[in-house]
């Protein structure tokens, strides 16, 4: 699928993705990478410049009506539910999505309970906090889900405890047979929740696979993290460092497991030389892969 603006800017440059029913598929990438553009084409809000989107026998580009029936979409922006009580917003959206009234109410209430929102069930939207509204948006999107569920940054503003409950429900959507597209810039959360993922940068698909296959290059390696003293540049790095990235005063490096001792010794030298304040050694995560591929951390720009 390709999407250009004014024939020049490639928002999506020949991205091909295949998702199986039951799969939770992560779309990761820095801000402006083209993730949201991609999913808006799936739901039919934008039209691809070229390429096709198929779900079973249906061509979603040709038939945007069927695209909206097959896909449920949680956009990044908050839902317009100021005047709705929580359970009304959920129920009416379920009806709009084509669910039978009783079944929609039953599943809606079950989801409200599962995400621990029961105390606000009868509260008007304008009195809900941002995180709670985000969760209501998730329930509205999935109370009667399509075959493809698109969630654009579903955990934004959500507290850590309900975040876990939310991930559980996202996994269950997969078990129910839906293909879930998860747009996020939170790599660490995605690593635990997705079956497969794609990393998109500047409109291009730069990596695709399971979290562990993407980490395979870093197998047998460790992450060495150095907290630089403010005002210090990146010190001369020893040869044992495979790659590195700096965010603020945080210098992240990937080294071989076998070089752990040498790495620690070097880090201690850096502290004695008052270049660094602190160091840590740990397992590599998807974040390290992400940094290597995009040149950004998932938390912000490097």
């Amino acid at each position: 699928m390709t999407k250009t603006y004014d024939g020049e800017v490639f928002a999506n440059d020949a991205i091909t993705i295949e998702v199986e029913p039951g799969e939770v598929y992560g779309l990761l990438g820095p801000n402006g990478a083209g993730k949201t553009t991609f999913v808006k084409q799936v739901i039919g809000l934008l039209k691809p410049t070229s390429g096709s989107i198929r779900v079973g026998p249906y061509d979603l580009v040709e038939d945007p009506d069927v695209a909206r029936q097959l896909c449920s979409y949680l956009p990044q922006a908050q839902m317009p539910i100021q005047s709705f009580k929580m359970h009304e917003a959920v129920h009416i959206t379920g009806l709009i999505r084509g669910g039978p009234s009783d079944a929609v109410r039953e599943r809606g209430d079950a989801l409200i309970e599962a995400l621990d929102l029961t105390e606000w069930r009868d509260t008007l939207g304008h009195k809900l906090s941002g995180g709670v509204r985000r969760l209501v948006g998730f329930i509205m999107t999935t109370v009667w889900p399509g075959k493809v569920v698109i969630l654009d940054e579903p955990t934004n503003d959500v507290d850590p405890r309900r975040r876990r409950l939310l991930w559980e429900q996202i996994r269950l959507l997969g078990s129910g047979g839906a293909a879930v597209f998860l747009v996020t810039h939170n790599v660490l959360e995605a690593e635990k929740a997705v079956d497969r993922l794609a990393i998109i940068n500047e409109g291009r698909l730069i990596a695709q696979g399971t979290p562990s296959s993407l980490k395979s290059d870093d197998r047998g390696r460790l992450r060495l993290q150095l907290m630089l003293r403010p005002g210090n540049g990146i010190p001369e790095l020893p040869a044992l460092v495979h790659h590195h990235a700096r965010v603020g005063n945080n210098l992240m490096m990937v080294i071989d497991e076998a070089a752990a001792g040498a790495g620690i010794a070097w880090a201690q030298q850096m502290m004695e030389a008052e270049i660094a304040e602190e160091y840590a050694l740990g397992a590599t995560t998807l974040e390290d892969v992400y940094i290597r591929l995009t040149g950004h951390t998932s938390q912000g720009d490097s």
Binding site: G44, Q69, C71, Q76, I92, L95, A114, G177
Partner: protein
Amino acid sequence: MIAAPASTLPGKRAGIAHWLRSYTAMLRWQLTDMRLLLPLTVMVQLLSGVGLVLGFGLLIDDVSERVALFLSTGAVVVTLVVVGVIMGPQLIAQQKSAGSYDFMWSLPVPRSSASAAWVTLNVFIAVPAMFGALFAAIWRYGVSFEPSLMIVPAVGLTLVTGTLLGYALAHGIPRPDITQLISQLLIFVIFGFAPISYPIENLPGWLAEVNRYLPFYPMANAVRDSLTEGLVTDVGRSYVVLAVWATLSIGIVGIVLRRRK
């Protein structure tokens, strides 16, 4: 544990039952969405209809029956048009600014059912205002109206055309601030240069001719004819022009809503 509903790939939903279901659900959404604002909006529209009727009486010392009928039926049409052309675009512009537009537009309903629900909402807001203006005229000027059944097509065509033109404007122009500017400009045109509250003969010849083909004069002529006896002529032609505009506005909305960037 909550199992998601069973999931074999469904057939495409279509047909009249799907349309009606979607229409009902969308209308329910829009009424609930407006619940805090609806009573206030209805009240404001009603007051502006009444205000228009009473205001003219302050401007003109001696209001004859003919003038009173002209002014009050004009106020009815202005009220009907303002709801669709001004209020609609403002609400949609607000959705666009808030970012909730994408969600509304991703819902699995036929575009036409969402538009029909929108027109219905406008009817709820405009019709009380229409009655307000009529009763104010009866009370203030002692005029009597002679409503005929033609009030249904006259008001219906006026509301459909006005609402859908405003709707197309709001959806067709990407930037909400430009939409707002254009709807303000329309108000200026409607109040100043469309013969809604005065006879078309009062306009210079060329402007009168232009107005015969624009929707506002035919709206006023048809509504006036349905409420009074012997006040206006050339009504058949007004219905034809109005029907063309109604069809056109449905067509424009259809094109605007199907277009994807």
